[in-house]
């Protein structure tokens, strides 16, 4: 096994949560829901998957993965549901509530790994390490690349198909583009569509967290996510909210982050340089989006 292949595989491993969380953001933004809470949803997904995996122990063998990932999906959706319900009932802006829920999720993880879920010796702030049967299978032997990456590709292609071909995807796009027209011209239940988008977005982010613990870390601990949920926003925006594009921008960011670690090791170039590049890209992406937005503003002002 060549070292290059291992490095490429590492980049793809790093890209996996970025792609799935990036899809979560793309779903939300396409549907007009500004879910900034992928980070929190990802973390509670990781918590739920960890709890189920530890609870199952060796009893289910490989099958443990199914309830573990399902638990991640449900937990992520439930976390997003809180923001959705706050918006539906009290018109709380989801931009605020989802960010706040991120902090709650971060501290929930801290609490759990020092409390109920801490490993039995109570020395390290983390859970027990998962047994090998509860780990996602590796798809390229000799590397760390696990099934989660393939799953990410499948979800991206499926999302793209849903948006382009299905009535559901069209309703989501219409609601995101113009809730008034969606309601008046399309007789679309905008409230229900928004709720669905919230839940779908949260579910995807939760799945990203579950895949991360069952595919990479094999345990829950603090700082499990180096801000995947936030980077995911940039991943989605740079891809223009196109699900297939998210795969490429996710791989790009994954490569950037793993490459930076290698640069630091080999050439003593600070890995924080990657963060600088990332941040510059995010600013560029937001600027492009703003110019586009202003463009449409100018158009509407002319009307």
């Amino acid at each position: 096994m060549t070292a290059e292949l291992v490095l490429v595989a590492d980049a793809l491993v790093r890209a996996t949560p970025l792609i799935i969380a990036g899809l979560a953001v793309a779903w939300a933004f396409r549907g007009g829901v500004f879910n900034i809470g992928a980070e929190g949803q990802l973390l509670v997904g990781a918590v739920a998957a960890t709890a189920v995996t530890l609870l199952a122990g060796n009893s289910l063998g490989r099958l443990t993965l199914i309830p573990a990932l399902a638990a991640g999906i449900i937990a992520g959706a439930a976390w997003a549901w809180i923001a959705a319900e706050l918006k539906r009932r009290f018109h709380v802006l989801e931009i605020i509530s989802t960010i706040m829920l991120n902090f709650i999720a971060i501290h929930l993880v801290s609490f759990l790994v020092r409390g109920p879920l801490q490993e039995p010796t109570h020395i390290y702030p983390q859970t027990l390490t998962f047994t090998s049967s509860a780990r996602l299978p590796v798809i390229i032997p000799g590397t760390r690349l696990h099934l989660g990456f393939a799953l990410a590709i499948v979800i991206a292609v499926a999302s793209s198909w849903i948006f382009r071909k299905t009535a559901l995807g069209f309703r989501i796009r219409a609601t995101g583009a113009s809730p008034e027209a969606a309601h008046t011209a399309g007789l679309i239940n905008v409230e229900r569509t928004s709720m669905f988008v919230f839940l779908a977005s949260g579910a995807l982010a939760g799945l990203a967290g579950a895949i991360e613990v069952n595919g990479v870390t094999f345990a829950l601990y603090e700082n499990l996510s180096p801000g995947y949920g936030y980077t995911a926003i940039a991943v989605a925006l740079i891809a223009g909210l196109n699900p297939v594009g998210v795969v490429f921008s996710g791989i790009f960011f994954g490569a950037l982050e793993t490459g930076a670690a290698a640069l630091q090791r080999e050439f003593a170039i600070p890995s924080s340089l990657a963060s600088v590049v990332e941040a510059a890209l995010i600013i560029a992406a937001i600027t492009v989006a703003a110019i586009r937005g202003r463009h449409t503003l100018v158009q509407s002002a002319r009307r």
Binding site: T166, A174, A177, S178, A181, A185, I188
Partner: protein, 466 residues
């Protein structure tokens, strides 16, 4: 100083595809209160925004004291002695009266000087407010007073008020007009934008009526009476041939609605015209078209309803979508599974050719279409599957003559094939010309009226409009 502190000459202003003002002229005279009357959307506010420098005219000129000027911003207008009080107030609640007055001034802030100026104005016009009171504590009448004070503090000679009595009680209204009169008496000029006939008749010295962007009447108030103003506001019907008695026979009821104090039926083969002021008919039309829940009332509505909303840009079309996608939008709420895009594309092409939409093709953006073509497209989309009921809100607003005639012919065709058509229009001429019968919707309910402009006007504006 001239007798005409502000004059607007041949002002034309377009918004993309609609003509908001069509060479409108208006002269404001010193010492007079001029009422600018017109229905919603007639162009009153647009005209005054041009006078206040918020909008630029496409053609025409503004003169102050008989000298032609150019206002590039409200600051220019304020410097020329023009003040405007908008419908939405622009005050800072956390600041005091004096601070709010000083806020829009220039140079150094001096509380003493501001207070002095305020008491000066109070002496002249009777407009008096405690300069140290916080705006948050003021009621809406006092807030309006403050808005006026603020313009006068900047030495406005022409005061433009946009629907000033909308937020006032009857007593406050009387007080407001007393103050406006003393301001005029002191040599100022007032422009009163309103659609309340009673206010205008009682208090204005001169009147100009706008209808659909055109000035249709300018006269001293003493020389006109209420029926003349109603006619000018809502449209004078030229003599028309008697209506083709459409279907007073036993045609079936396609839709009926019993809601609160409203009860109405639409039958197949008839066009019902709805006259109403200030979107009073919107709830009914939205319920008939299934766009609003019919709560606690009995309704019989057909499964297929075509609906053309007044605001087609925001409500009928999605500009980020192409025409094909906008065709798919109709009925998107009840569709399931996958979308047959080839079929929808064919349908879009059919709409484009059958309804003579000038567009580059089904993949064109609706934003690239003119207003008339957008409306042809929307109408076509709503009509193409032969709905039993068609509901329309001001379907010809902002359209040119050809597009208007096209819309009318389509409505007649739909009626003739047996659909029920109900449409609201702010133009009485149109209602009378197109409808088989006319109903008037007011806060008191629905009443049937013979299609005659005076009857309709009376029912709309008569005694009910305070």
């Amino acid at each position: 100083m001239s007798e005409t502190p502000l004059a607007l000459n041949d002002i034309t202003r377009r918004f993309a595809n609609t003509v908001a003002l069509d060479s409108v002229s208006l002269a404001i005279h010193k010492g007079k209160i001029t009422a600018l009357l017109g229905e919603n959307g007639a162009g009153k506010t647009t005209l005054m925004r041009i006078a206040f420098g918020m909008l630029q005219p496409d053609s025409g000129s503004i003169s102050v004291d008989d000298r032609t000027v150019r206002f590039t911003s409200p600051a220019d207008a304020i410097a020329a002695g023009i003040g405007m009080v908008h419908q939405q107030f622009s005050l800072i609640p956390a600041m005091t009266v004096a601070e709010n007055v000083a806020l829009t001034g220039r140079g150094q802030y001096s509380l003493v000087a501001t207070k002095q100026r305020l008491s000066e104005i109070a002496g002249k016009t009777g407009l008096r407010l405690n300069p140290d009171a916080y705006v948050a504590e003021l009621g809406s009448a006092d807030r309006q007073k403050l808005e006026i004070l603020r313009t006068l503090a900047h030495r406005a000679r022409v005061l433009i008020l946009d629907e000033p009595t909308a937020v006032l009680t009857a007593r406050d209204t009387v007080e407001l007009f007393a103050q406006l009169k003393s301001f005029a008496h002191e040599g100022g000029a007032v422009v009163l934008i309103t659609h309340k006939l009673a206010d205008a008749i009682e208090h204005a010295d001169e009147v100009t009526v706008l209808r659909r962007g055109r000035s249709v009447l300018t006269a001293p108030m003493g020389t006109v009476d209420e029926p003349m103003l109603i006619e000018a506001m809502l449209g004078a019907a030229p003599p028309r041939p008697t209506l083709t008695a459409a279907s007073n026979d036993l045609s079936r009821v396609v839709a009926s609605l019993d809601h609160a104090n409203i009860s109405l039926e639409v039958r197949s083969g008839e066009i019902v015209g709805v006259a109403a002021l200030d979107n009073a008919a919107t709830p009914i039309l939205r319920m008939l078209s299934r766009r609003r829940k019919v709560s606690g009332s009995a309704a019989m509505l057909p499964a297929k309803v075509g609906f053309v909303p007044e605001n087609r840009r925001d409500e009928a079309l999605i500009e980020d979508f192409n025409l094909t996608e906008n065709v798919a939008l109709a009925g998107a709420g009840s569709r399931s599974g996958t979308i047959d895009w080839t079929g929808v594309n064919d349908q879009a092409e059919e709409i484009i050719s059958r309804y003579h939409v000038v567009a580059s093709g089904p993949s064109a953006s609706p934003a690239s279409l003119s207003g008339g073509n957008q409306q042809r497209f929307v109408l076509g989309r709503e009509l193409i599957d032969d709905p039993d009921l068609i509901v329309l809100e001001n379907p010809t607003q902002g359209l040119d003559v050809n597009a208007e005639a096209f819309v009318h012919s389509q409505l007649r065709q739909a009626r003739d094939r047996g659909a029920g058509v109900i449409f609201y229009s702010s133009d009485l001429d149109e209602l009378i010309a197109v409808s088989d019968r006319v109903i008037v919707v007011t806060a008191d309910g629905v009443q049937s009226v013979i299609p005659d402009k005076n009857e309709i006007g009376q029912a709309l504006l008569g005694t009910r409009d305070s």
